[in-house]
Symmetry: C2
Subunit: 446 residues, 2 copies
Amino acid sequence: MKTDALIHDLGRIVGAEHVLEAAGHYLHDTTLTMGLRGEAEAVVRPGSTEEVAATVRHCYEHDVPIVPRGGGTGFAGGATPTQGGIVLSLERLARVRSFDPLLWRIEVEAGVRTHSVQRLARENGLAFPVDPGAAEESQIGGNIATNAGGPHCFKYGVMRAWVTGVEAVMAPGEIARFGGPVRKDVAGYDLLGLLCGSEGTLGIITAAWLRLIPAPPVSLAAAGFYSDAAAGQEAIEQLMASGVQPAAIEYLDAATLAICGATFPGGMPADAGFLVITEADTSEADFAELVEALGPGARTPDPRALWRWRDSVSLAVTVSRGGKLSDDIAVPVDRLAEAVERTVEIGRRHGLQACSWGHAGDGNLHSTFLLDPGEPAERRAANAAAEELFALAAELGGTISGEHGLGVLKNHKLSLQWSPAAVGAHDAVRGALDPKGLFNPGKKLA
Amino acid sequence: MKTDALIHDLGRIVGAEHVLEAAGHYLHDTTLTMGLRGEAEAVVRPGSTEEVAATVRHCYEHDVPIVPRGGGTGFAGGATPTQGGIVLSLERLARVRSFDPLLWRIEVEAGVRTHSVQRLARENGLAFPVDPGAAEESQIGGNIATNAGGPHCFKYGVMRAWVTGVEAVMAPGEIARFGGPVRKDVAGYDLLGLLCGSEGTLGIITAAWLRLIPAPPVSLAAAGFYSDAAAGQEAIEQLMASGVQPAAIEYLDAATLAICGATFPGGMPADAGFLVITEADTSEADFAELVEALGPGARTPDPRALWRWRDSVSLAVTVSRGGKLSDDIAVPVDRLAEAVERTVEIGRRHGLQACSWGHAGDGNLHSTFLLDPGEPAERRAANAAAEELFALAAELGGTISGEHGLGVLKNHKLSLQWSPAAVGAHDAVRGALDPKGLFNPGKKLA
């Protein structure tokens, strides 16, 4: 189909002013720092679920790839149009359809920012505890499509645990609703759960019903510095043995501390080789248990300052050499220290400075290789290092992606951790729900 | 395939002594009280995952239906062999493969009783908070296959939230593992979640990795009696507005209280028309808030006595007339009172005594029509009443099954709540993963 004709037809569906030239930020996500930018025939911004369905119908009929786009904050290239077609941005579906604070539930369109849901909840004495790193920019639809996580998922679970219903446009352009404002539903297969984390390859999420909980009574943070990853691992296991459920257990390794430890609230010890952060959100008494578990020298900085600092880590690491390749493997928690140490070794073998930080309680590392984006040799080295990292995750009984997804960066890697039968099931499900292969093609390939 | 030849071949796989004549309890679940009993060519009891795979391989090759069986405590006929073939019992897969209390995780085979997991957790200062009604008999595999719930799922979520990995035998007899001892994993589609609640129609779960949490510090229960469902609904909403997260919110309606209220610990008021039960598992202070929210007259019975009494409700209702048809619709919590009242009205229209009780906070009713199982006319009336009940659930924005599943009882009812596109996706997924339609055929039909 000719681009001009496509643009004309789509303009009749969503209004000509909402079919944009494919340019600027619509063509990439955060993997732009690794040079990943796509191309598309147009950006389409539907204003309603019906317009999304009509757009998909048109594209499905004319074999046009559809790349759904939320806030564009992904780390795996999932929103980057690598096979042409259209970028379908959900940004205009940004209404809160209903909010019942006394019933702990909210219905929002896909383009509502995750931060807005968190704020609305907070202003009403409630909490939406999923806290992905880019909550101020990321959108609910994208966060569901990647089944996003964050520090507090250690206690509260990832996005899937908070979605009771989705409205989605399925092939070849039909609106479907799975679940709703009801909190339990086992009538049909869990297609709601299947859409969570499907990265736009099985359908396009247009709205969601989310559940909320009463705001936790306290938010108290503590931090402990340790000589190395092994000692840090021990502190993490002490936290888990304390009898208290921490709201989060985070870590930074020595190399990450070398980059951003200087700005740690209150400063850090000169010999620090590993940092463990934890939070209690239940009571002062529970907090005291956690502080004790961290051992002598535990600190109790202002939680807001601490989390603000923690939020700055990713960017600080990026700017330290101008670019990075950051992966999000997860391993059984007792293998964390080993994964941390071997991340550094892998970098060393490839001539790259490596560091990691992340969600220790979930065994979820952000294993990172620093690079100068202007140096193709460094990018090649980082890609080679990433291959070793994925093999490491599989070797340790973990996963190549704890929260970012496959996107384009990890295509064809699933077989490292899944058997041929499991990979076959993955592909069969995809073929069943997107028979023409037009939903975000070239992404999340098993 | 001739039965004799089948039995001979299966005996070579699992040992002749583990291929039994299909008889007794292997041919039904709790729906036997409604006269539902199946037929099969044999009962096969594999002793390992490899034997399950070999059995499935043999059956898949010879077009023999496979009906997986856990504890047989289902309420929907999901384990009843209605289309012949073999019953594949997981009872011999009953090993705890690993248990790491300090790391909050356990790996168990499908035939381990859910109660055993709860007990192991408790004895180690931990909790496995999913508490389906028949935990002493039901098995982890079956509870995962039905995505089981229970009272404490109001706070802790259903089975899916506690499974980090499954081992399953997929068509045509291949072992696959989705997830594992890792707490976060978004690499592949959520096929683990898809298997949860699939009622044995997509694959046969042979083992699971479960996560655990530290045991809650307290367990304090309170109860309030109200004049009617509307007043009870108000109390439930007061609990949700208290700022505290209750561990459970249960209810019994007037007709249920008429049957089993007399044995309520400490007795019940003569004019009671609705009972609300709640539990705090966080602190004494939180408990005080919940007691206050229940209003004047709230009682604080011994939690053990209260839950023991609550556990006896289902059986007490059954024996009151000898039989019952009990469905498990769920509605948005603000529609609970309406669903309670209309359950009774539906029964009245069909000449049946009706009652309901259940998981109020989740809007999950056990809407029940009493019957004499020896009276075919009453069974017919109950089936007709159930049809109206399903329509009611859909009308109120709810689901025809909050926790029991479709089994055979609710075949072809999913279209009441799902659009044709959604039902189409359900069927497409099934066809993709069980192309020959041999996994628990005739169950969970959309």
